[in-house]
């Protein structure tokens, strides 16, 4: 996969002196650089809509808000108590179904380089005496590793989490940008996970991401470096004949991956805010993913009609369990009813699901 290489760097003057800013600028020698005043590239309409924006530009700035926040789950479906760490925003992989198309209002790849403030904020949370275990992901507003060859962010954050006993970091990616991870002191507190899909879906809907094979190979390498790994078949995309392709993807995973350090496999059927549909149709007229049987879910998002979801989950669970009975499988943003019908059991509550995932993090051998 071709690594992201911007054609322009925009630096907010307030972060010019920061080490991460200097690291990125240093690695992009020769790329035109522009300094702007803080707030000049803001969210108040000073830049065009992300749909038509220029992802070939990287914007280095200060995160003036919080880095750390709870995952925006919904009351209507079971949530796993995930938390997110926003160190960057946007993604140039341009997967057709990506929610960022309707979510972000900056067109550029954004990196918040005030990492000192980020770690201060994290210290304030993790050093607080509490029995809570945190599962923290960096792949909500971007791909966790897509900029790592420029930022080496993992070289800061993986050892940091390695020093914490009450927090696990999950790096979620569709890339094989793992070079920085090899020699880090992760202490079993980092899970590297890949969003996976059936190969035809990758070719049609995730054109700029790594192949399935490359993702599995990268996961295998991370296992060799002692990391726990995870996989997310999310979004599962329905199409006639999906069964054969997804079954093959699962078989490929278990041909290479050691189940002993496999933390989890999550499953989540394609879901999206209604306003994303016209954007996808406009940007990717060749994509057919919007034309399946979607209904408006209890949280207002469009989802496959429930029997379709249950059928997909049941089959996926069957294939995964056939490959490895011990695999911990969970559903992302689904109801108890769907859990019951797909997995044969359901967490009693959000807290119950959270405990299950916390245990999965802790129990697996790194």
């Amino acid at each position: 996969m071709e690594r992201f290489h911007p054609k322009k760097i925009i630096v907010e003057d307030s972060v010019e002196h920061l080490p991460l800013t200097q690291t990125i600028i240093g690695r992009l020698g020769g790329v035109p650089l522009e300094y702007v005043k803080e707030g000049a590239v803001g969210s108040a309409g000073t830049v065009p809509d992300v749909r038509f924006g220029d992802q070939e530009c990287i914007f280095l700035c200060r995160n003036k808000g919080r880095f750390f926040e709870p995952c925006p789950g919904t009351k209507q479906y079971l949530c796993c108590g995930y938390t997110i760490l926003n160190f960057a925003a946007n993604c140039h992989l341009n997967c057709t179904y990506c929610i960022l198309q309707a979510y972000l209002n900056k067109p550029h790849m954004v990196v918040y380089t005030n990492t000192g403030e980020m770690f201060e904020e994290l210290d304030g949370i993790f050093n607080h005496p509490s029995k809570r275990l945190y599962r923290v992901g960096t792949g909500e507003l971007t791909d966790s590793l897509i900029l790592d060859h420029l930022t080496s962010f993992t070289r800061l954050v993986v050892p940091y989490f390695g020093s914490k006993k009450n927090a696990f970091l999950e790096l979620k990616t569709k890339t094989d940008n793992i070079d920085n991870l090899g020699d880090l002191e992760h202490a079993g507190q980092t899970i590297v996970s890949w969003s996976l899909n059936a190969e035809p879906v990758i070719k049609r809907e995730e054109k700029h991401a790594c192949s399935l094979e490359a993702r599995i190979k990268a996961a295998h390498q991370c296992q060799k470096w002692g990391y726990k790994v995870g996989f997310h078949f999310d979004p599962l995309i329905y199409y006639p004949g999906w069964e054969r392709d997804y079954k093959q993807a699962i078989e490929k995973v278990f041909q290479s991956i050691d189940p002993a350090s496999l933390c989890w496999i999550s499953l989540g059927c394609l879901r999206f805010m209604p306003k994303l549909k016209p954007i996808i149709i406009q940007r990717y007229p060749e994509s057919r993913i919007m034309y399946q049987e979607f209904i408006r879910g209890l949280d207002g998002k469009m989802r496959y009609f429930q029997p379709i979801r249950i059928d997909m989950y049941r089959k996926m669970v069957g294939w995964i369990k056939r490959a490895c009975t011990e695999t911990f499988i969970y559903l992302c943003m689904e109801s108890k009813e769907v859990w019951e019908k797909s997995l044969g059991f359901a967490p009693r509550s959000n807290q119950d699901l959270r405990s299950m995932l916390d245990s999965a993090c802790s129990a697996r051998r790194a």
């Binding site: 057919r288 049987e293 209904i295 408006r296 989802r303 429930q306 009813e337």
Partner: protein, 319 residues
């Protein structure tokens, strides 16, 4: 601007030259009545094209009406031959917008022609307000394509059988698909929400099934509904919409049918309504009935309680 007035034979006025025409979908009847009563009050404004022919700038309808009334000639005002196209068009434009609001097709025609002479920015800022439109470029982009539509669709827009918003979706289709869709819309005379749904069902079914829109619309089932003499127009509309929805959402509509069959087996009293969760998402059903007193409520609850062990109810709610 130097102008002269002259009596001109109608045969010397080129009525096929519509360079400055801004009228569409008009009824000549009232104008003919007026001419019959009092003659032509304002002479048409024309420009000399050649030694013998004239081009209409303002007054297409007057010339047409005179022709239909069998007149051989009329008084016209002739602009100087040096009057350019832009100036002539503006004469036509201001003459029209000063005394009536243009219909959507005419607005589209005006926008298209204004863009021949002026920049998009100027059309938006200076002319859209005169057309009673907001000065936004989206208005320009939205309305401009309407005048490119086929005459049947433009007429349907003015007749109210195809909404402008639906017509703008028709613009995006290829000619064959547009013809098939518009024919169905004109036949069924649906509300806007149903027009929107119909367009969505048809285009998305075509994409799902790798068919053309024409193939979806010309399916035997739709033809059968349209030809059914037992059905009136609203019933045909309902039947076509139901068929298209089933085609677009086969599993959801099958489940709805199954639920309806289950309800019929339950034989609930007519005023009792049992509803499934919206789209069968979640497991919250609703039950509605009426009562007039505490005793009546007690009786209704008692009646319903006796049904709780009914196998049909269990099947319906728990599958």
């Amino acid at each position: 601007m130097r102008q002269v007035t002259k009596h001109i034979d109608l045969k010397d006025i080129d009525r096929n030259d519509t360079l400055f025409l801004l009228s569409y979908g008009y009824d000549l009847g009232p104008l003919k009545d007026s001419i019959n009563q009092v003659g032509v009050i304002n002479p048409p404004l024309v420009r000399q094209k050649s030694d013998t022919t004239y081009q209409i700038i303002c007054g297409y309808k007057r010339v047409h009406a005179l022709s239909e009334l069998g007149a051989a000639s009329t008084h016209c005002t002739i602009v100087s031959p040096a009057t350019g196209d832009e100036e002539s068009f503006l004469l036509s434009f201001y003459d029209t917008v000063s005394h009536r609001e243009l219909n959507p097709i005419e607005k589209s025609m005006a926008i298209t022609r204004l863009l021949n002479y002026f920049s998009e920015e100027k059309v938006v800022s200076d002319f859209l307000p005169l057309l009673k439109l907001q000065p936004h470029s989206t208005q320009l982009a939205t309305l401009k394509p309407l005048s490119t539509l086929e005459r049947t669709i433009k007429d349907a827009i003015l007749a109210g059988t195809i909404d402008v918003r639906t017509a703008l979706k028709l613009v995006l289709l290829d000619g064959v698909s547009r013809e098939a869709c518009s024919r169905l819309l004109i036949t069924l005379r649906l509300s806007l929400s149903k027009q929107t749904a119909l367009m969505e069902y048809v285009s998305e079914s075509a994409l799902r099934e790798n068919l053309s829109i024409g193939e979806v619309i010309n399916s035997p089932h739709i033809r059968f509904i349209l030809e059914d003499e037992q059905l009136n127009l609203p019933q045909k509309g309902e039947a076509v919409m139901s068929f298209l929805r089933k085609r677009r959402f086969p599993q959801l509509t099958a489940k709805e049918e199954e639920f309806k069959r289950g309800l019929r087996q339950l034989r609930l009293p007519p005023d009792v309504r049992l509803k499934h969760p919206p789209f069968f998402e979640g497991n919250t059903y609703s039950l509605t009935f009426h009562f007039t007193s505490v005793n009546a409520l007690r009786k209704r609850l008692h009646d319903f309680e006796s049904r709780l062990d009914d196998r049909s109810l269990l099947t319906l709610l728990e599958g």
